[in-house]
Symmetry: C2
Subunit: 465 residues, 2 copies
């Protein structure tokens, strides 16, 4: 690069912060804008950050490592690895572990806000300029090279900045995307899922050493699931010994209970063990707070407007339901894919922007659909014996037969632990594997039937004699 | 109504203006807001109004009449009735008229801006407050009864107004819809069609009396079509003797010509007669202006947020492609449907708002799809002999067999001349009619084959003797 190019990133959440770091590490002069105040100095802003726990997996880690290996190690020190699902049965007495990886791989529970603060500290260290309290109100192109971003500051002034490239990472309700829509032919859709969620909390065990494993009321190294088909409860461990638990149910179901006592009664019957873990008070408070989350899927295309050197990444480009734990991982991968395209084009970001939609569209469509489908797996299939049998065969083949005739990698492994396989490629491979699994099932069932028939024939023969 | 209720309407285009008049005629205290300056006093604003001609048909007229019979008569005095399509063939020498109605019904060409000014004058007469130059920047609910609208005025002040009901009619890129999205779970999609359009103009014939029919270069009482499959040209008459002509083509096709001469060559070969009518200068100017329109389809659901007493109507709720000439008619029908729901609920607008989406959703989905499908009919099917034969049988049955066994009404008639039949009901009826038509075709083909065979048998017989 003969001359230092400038980048304006809108949104200092997880994906925006990583994008800012990534461009900065490539030598760009980066400015990062955020509507909210700095979460490190403002307690209100801290509270308003969404608290759904995150599971960082391979794609997220690869993207972070691409940007900064050391930073990644520092962040990963604070995660709680989850090596499988822990299925809680309806009686509240039995728990069954279903391991995620073939070789002990884990997804990693981390607090969204903690990760965000880590990234912002790295940004300060990288001397990236940050501008909090800046509300985006406009964007466009100044000329063929330069684009502008316009913000309203707290004192209602309008400030205008010019950049060579502009990046929108301001979340599902992205203002950047909305402004960009006005400048180009952008397909866009948002669709609400007929589902609501309510956050609950499992407190740490009292009187235990806050550093010991004993402070956790249930095993911290699992993602806990209470699968009940139409609704389900999940829980992820936090560093302080508590668990953030989320109750997913059809939209309006919680409101159909006439009061908190009725809701508690339902909860006690459906989740007897979780009822004790969370406690009556916590359940009552959550019910009466009337805070319910909704789930939305957002898709758009194309992701870039080359004539403005503009790109949309993260939730702003693809808000997905949380059931595959890939929202943030996919957002981090957006940054990774973009950076690799810049490398491929020998530092020419303009060409990278132009290629980005073609390179990324299919994978984003794929993971949005997989995330949606995974609700059914988490809430229903995990207790289906046929599903569990198939999963066992799948994992056995993955562990011992991978590469014998052809590669064999279970779907969950490809999505969560093999960032080198794209989402769409994973679906392709899985399709072939499913065909083979079906054949194995037919052969198994056929063999059992054949043995059975042989037995019957034997008896029949004996009987005739 | 014991107490006068207030309504704030955002968008003083066609649908917003009619909605303001409709609420006002029901005794509401209405304020109408518009981002742009008053088109009657501001020449810039006049220019920026879209100039695609409109075809007012039965649904639009019914809605206007519901609001004000006399106003409707005054407006209709200025329309140019179009009783059919005029198909221009590829040689530029033949024109064929295809009549729209069974009994001479017409759709009516009218200038968008003229109609808008008519409605605004009626609004002034009805003492509806108008506030031009008001940019919507926020909306929400004050309490269970009242909602607010917040605007930025030209001098950058923020003004806030409170209303019992708020109505968004601010077009395809609606700010009202965008603000409302933030307050509710709204499904939304926008999809661009792979097509562009360019406006052209056929000037009046020189030296003719400006009041005589002779001032029109082609028959004013037809919608002229030059159907060429992948692209097409249309033309609608204006009161001054000119025609507004629109060239529709695949996105980027116009840009694929390296210069205006190449484009003119193409135009001359494809539309020899239109080439002469428009003239080289007009074509060259349009090509070099680089002004191209894009076509977008917008859908959303639900249309109302009852907790804010808010509703979205017109293009803001359903922007459709222009190929059935129903965009404005459907928007006017939105107002009509809402008013009839208020009547049904004995003046209780809150209940009407709550029922509106259920009453309207299916019809809006239907017409959006019909509009899209009609490009194929206009550009391709109108010159297919099988289509024309079917259409003739269809119209014959509509004219002479309607009500003999069951109702028989051609599709175009139901959509454009029978506002009493909803869009979705029309599709249902059409499906049945198509089945009958297919039977008739089979019988006809079968009979011809049978007669043919009989003839062959006769000859064979004679030959054997």
């Amino acid at each position: 690069m003969s001359e230092q190019k400038s980048v304006g990133v809108v949104g200092a959440g997880l994906v925006g912060s990583l994008a800012a770091l990534a461009f900065s590490s490539k030598g760009y002069n980066v400015t990062l804008f955020e509507l909210r105040p700095d979460p490190r100095s403002d307690s209100e802003s801290r509270k308003s950050l969404r608290s759904i726990n995150l599971a960082v997996s391979d794609r997220g880690i690869r993207a972070m490592k691409y940007v900064d290996e050391e930073m990644t190690s520092r962040v990963l020190e604070h995660v709680i690895p989850m090596k499988g699902r822990m299925i809680h049965d309806a009686t509240g007495t039995k728990q069954e572990s279903q391991i995620y990886g073939l070789f002990g791989e884990s997804i990693n529970s981390i607090d969204r806000q903690f990760l965000n603060v880590c990234l912002l500290n790295e940004i300060d260290a990288a001397k990236v300029q940050t501008k909090f309290g800046h509300r985006l109100v406009g964007l466009g192109s100044v000329n063929e090279q330069k684009s502008y971003l316009e913000f309203q500051t707290k004192d209602s002034n309008i400030e205008r900045f010019e950049f060579d490239f502009i990046v929108g990472a301001d979340g599902a309700h992205s203002q950047f995307r909305y402004q960009l829509q006005k400048t180009m032919r952008m397909d866009f859709s948002q669709k609400y899922i007929d589902m609501q969620y309510m956050e609950l909390s499992i407190p740490p065990v009292k009187g235990k050493d806050p550093k010991s494993e004993e402070r956790f009321a249930i095993d911290p190294n699992h993602l806990h699931i209470w699968p009940r088909k139409d609704y389900m409860l999940i829980a992820l461990a936090n560093g302080d010994g508590s668990f953030t638990s989320t109750f997913f149910s059809p939209w309006g179901m919680i409101e159909s209970f006439s009061n908190d006592t009725e809701y508690l009664e339902f909860f006690k019957t459906s989740f007897p063990d979780a009822y004790k873990l969370i406690g009556e008070e916590g359940l009552r408070t959550a019910f009466n707070s009337k805070v319910r989350g909704s789930l939305m899927q957002v898709e758009m295309s194309p992701y870039t407007n080359p004539s403005h050197n503009a790109i949309v990444i993260g939730d702003a480009a693809h808000s997905m339901v949380p059931f595959y734990g890939q929202g943030m991982n996919c957002g981090f991968e957006d940054v990774h894919v973009l950076m690799k395209l810049i490398d491929k084009n020998n530092g020419d970001a303009k060409s990278a922007f132009a290629e980005y939609t073609g390179a990324r569209r299919k994978d984003i469509q794929t993971i949005c659909k997989l995330a949606m489908d995974n609700y059914y797996e988490m809430s229903t299939k995990v207790i289906d014996p046929f599903f569990l049998f198939r999963k066992k065969v799948d994992y056995f083949l993955g562990k011992y037969a991978n590469g014998v005739l052809f590669p064999w990698i279970p779907m969950y492994t490809m999505i969560s632990f093999r960032g080198d396989i794209s989402y769409s490629k994973a679906v392709e491979i899985e399709k072939r594997q499913r065909r083979v699994l079906r054949c194995i099932e037919y052969v198994t069932v056929g063999s059992i039937a054949a043995i059975g028939l042989a037995k019957v024939a034997q008896y029949w023969d004996r009987f005739r004699r």
